[in-house]
């Protein structure tokens, strides 16, 4: 009888242990899932910020090409970009940790970053074809790098 009692006690302890192990495994799994979700959220935030910055640069008077207030779509004025470098600090709140510039691809190959507040290596890069105006029109890419 005593053996039977001990056996049942052992069963109870084993069931408790199995239950605890299952809870710990569940918690670990949940932790991994949450970590993945947080990483996804961070990435979503970077994607959204890059879209916002891209849109801002393409549609702001500070960068756009214009002729008698008529705006040329998807065109950045190189002389304005150069002038903007002096105002860079005023735009830190808006642009945050990012690097924004234009990369000429035709006819020459040149890269100018007019805003550079990069940090670390974790970045999201977005680029879009644009016209670059500096007396004449050239073809290039507007590049936005968003840092964590």
């Amino acid at each position: 009888m005593s053996t039977k009692g001990q056996m049942e006690m052992m069963e109870t302890v084993i069931a408790l242990l199995v239950f605890l192990v299952l809870i710990v495994l569940g918690l670990v799994g949940y932790g991994y899932y949450m970590q993945g979700s947080i990483k996804d959220l961070k990435q979503d935030e970077q994607v959204e910020r890059s879209l916002l910055l891209m849109n801002y640069v393409l549609n702001s008077a500070e960068f756009q090409c214009s002729n008698n207030n008529i705006v040329k779509v998807n065109c950045v004025d190189m002389r304005k970009l150069v002038a903007f470098e002096n105002l860079r600090l005023d735009y830190r709140e808006l642009f945050g940790f990012s690097r924004i510039g234009v990369r000429e691809i035709h006819p020459g190959v040149e890269e100018v970053y007019f805003y550079d507040e990069s940090r670390g290596n974790d970045k999201f890069v977005r680029s879009v074809p644009v016209l670059i105006f500096e007396g004449n029109y050239r073809v290039g890419m507007l590049v936005v790098e968003v840092y964590e």
């Binding site: 009692g5 549609n59 008077a61 002729n67 207030n69 002389r79 002038a83």
Partner: protein, 298 residues
Amino acid sequence: MLKRGVIELPLHWIMIIIIGIAFLLFFGQAGFKLSETFKNVNDNLLVLDLRNVFLSASANSKTSSNIDLELENKVIKFEGEKFFVEENGKLVKGSKLNQFVFGDEINKNRVRIWSEAFELPFKVVNFVFVDDGKGFKIVDYAGNLGRNVKDELEDKGFNVDGEKVIKIVNGDNACLGSNNEDVALVVYYEEDEIVHGNLCFYKNGDLKGEKEFITEELIYGAIFSNFEVYEVLYDKAIERLINVDKIYEEKVINDNCRVRIDFGDMERYRNNVDNIISTAKKIKEQNKDRVRKCGYVY
């Protein structure tokens, strides 16, 4: 035997009760969290929707369109450069906007959004105006401006027989207490190439604040918003004007055109509307003169 049985039975039951409570707590909490998450996701989607709507509206000028939102029983309130989503008087979500969105309170699903460029004389930024159909009533339009504003609002598809009463008065005047409780805004303006003047904001007959305006677009800003929003966005617009002016100043230094343009003065005149206007007029003329020799600057 009986004693042992009595001891063994409660141990099993205790285990079952503990496990049962643990399961109940786990699933109860999971269910609660899930419903909270769904609500949170919906609120986030609404905020994201609004941000995208304002972002695309501000990318264009001279566009006006209806947008359908899924507000259910939520209300959107604008405050400075932020907007908040409220439900039953409780704050649900909020977000800062980088665009210039002039709005007041939105509680209907269908909103009308209009965007227009703010130029002084060069383009500074696109303003976005939002209304949910409550509309406006323009009264006392003795001069041309009241008529123009009413026609423009009607042309852009807004209700011009609505709730918010706007008085547009030709002449320079200080803001006084309103004798009409319905009046929300009084615009005192001076006829000029660049229209400018003073805005008086009221709520239930009490003066809430006053602020100057330059250009018709800022009158629309005041019509669509409230004093708190207008004050913040006006200052932000002047700040942006100064920045764009500095960029043109640098740009002109770097080209080889000999025609002088008075860029770079806006910062000195930030608090003097008359000087901003006279500088803007000068720049406009100089830009015209320049086109014959070296093309437009802006």
